[in-house]
Amino acid sequence: MIELVTDLILTYIATITFGILLNVPRRGLNMAGWIGTLSYLAYKLCMLTSLGMALSNLIGALLIGILSMQTARFKKMPVINFNIPALVPFVPGGQAYQMVKNFALGDNSLALSYLLQVVIIAGAIAFGFLLAELFNRLQARLMLKLSSRWRHENRHNPRL
């Protein structure tokens, strides 16, 4: 339990500091940190209920995509300000390193198994983003039907 809480605090710090490296505007940093922390919490809970690596990463990425888009609309900032820093705790850095190390030391079969893990995680994250994009477009369609303010603001958007 304590480990989970410290992990979450460290994730928040990591997300914000990675945002600083990418030069995210100051007014977006805090929200990026919260999105990163929340989606990492969802990922951890999925891992604890043994949903498996791929599904947990997919759910985490899905949450990042949806929350980032809501924040971007609310703050009127580009969505990449939020989803790229928030993605940092999901990077399969450990597996990628083990892959490189085992290739370098000549243990190719172990390296290949790590390569497969990296591919699975990356694919799960990409599909999570895809599903989030689907959700965002559905939401936009629905809002266009329901709200006249939305229709006015998005009247020139060719993607809707």
Binding site: N23, K76, N81, V91, Q98, A104
Partner: protein
């Protein structure tokens, strides 16, 4: 007269687009912004073609399309947000086309950066915190922070000198690998693996990778594949740097 205004519109729109692509924006967003500028300036039927190495734009029915090459690409999300804000202000009518162009020139001359020291400290904190999150190794937190910080400094310094991102990433990861192994030999840390995994995190090509996926999903296949190769090259540069140092030391 309308031709003059059209000319200014194309110049401003391409200027905005170039700044956005240079700062690491995805192609669909640039096309969207340029189209909005054109519509708000009174040219709803202009055409634009954007890739991550150059842009073309014309007003339908008139000659003289214009080309804008994009030669350098860095990562600076603040610039993208600012161009976005200016475009919104222009759409709301609170700045004119001339003021818009002036603001873009000003943005390019003195870009708002976080100070170098803040970036260094951030790089250190990213390394240390992610090392603990990934590996649960609390003893190596401080040494990972220090090595990640020095690694980012090497990356930044070589990038200033040579302006080749892949070379900077390669040299930074070589430095990180060497320092991690030496630190463990000097009993400053416990696990070479954990220290390297943490310290490499600030160099991860997150922006090209995410943009590659988004570009391909949006149908900008040329730009998506080019960006995917960019991300792959970064990953190979980092990986081969680490692999080399692991074999040597």
């Amino acid at each position: 007269m309308s031709n003059n205004r059209g000319h200014l519109m194309i110049k401003t729109a391409l200027h905005a687009g170039r700044i956005m692509i240079e700062s690491g924006s995805e192609v669909a967003r640039v096309e969207d912004t340029i189209n909005r500028i054109a519509i708000n300036a009174g040219f709803p039927d202009s055409k634009v073609y954007v890739t991550i190495t150059g842009m073309m734009m014309s007003i339908s029915g008139e000659e003289n399309a214009q080309i804008e090459p994009v030669s350098s690409r860095t990562i600076d999300l603040e610039k993208i947000s600012l161009v976005n804000d200016y475009s919104r202000q222009f759409a709301a009518g609170s700045i004119s086309l001339e003021q818009f162009d002036d603001l873009l020139t000003k943005l390019e001359q003195n870009p708002p950066y976080f100070s170098f020291w803040l970036q260094l400290i951030s790089a250190g904190l990213v390394s240390g915190t992610l090392e603990v999150v990934f590996r649960n190794n609390y003893q190596d937190f401080l040494i990972t922070c220090v090595i990640g910080l020095i690694g980012w400094a090497v990356f930044y310094g070589v990038n200033q000198l040579a302006r080749v991102r892949f070379l900077s990433e390669f040299l930074a990861s070589v430095a990180i690998g060497a320092m991690a192994i030496l630190a463990v030999r000097a009993n400053l840390g416990n696990s070479v693996d954990d220290i390297i995994i943490g310290s490499v995190m600030p160099l991860v090509p997150g922006v090209p990778l995410t943009n590659a996926v988004r570009d391909i999903l949006a149908g900008d296949l040329v730009s998506g594949i080019a960006r995917g190769i960019e991300a792959l090259m970064s990953a190979i540069a980092i990986g081969s740097g680490i692999a080399m140092i692991l074999q040597v030391l």
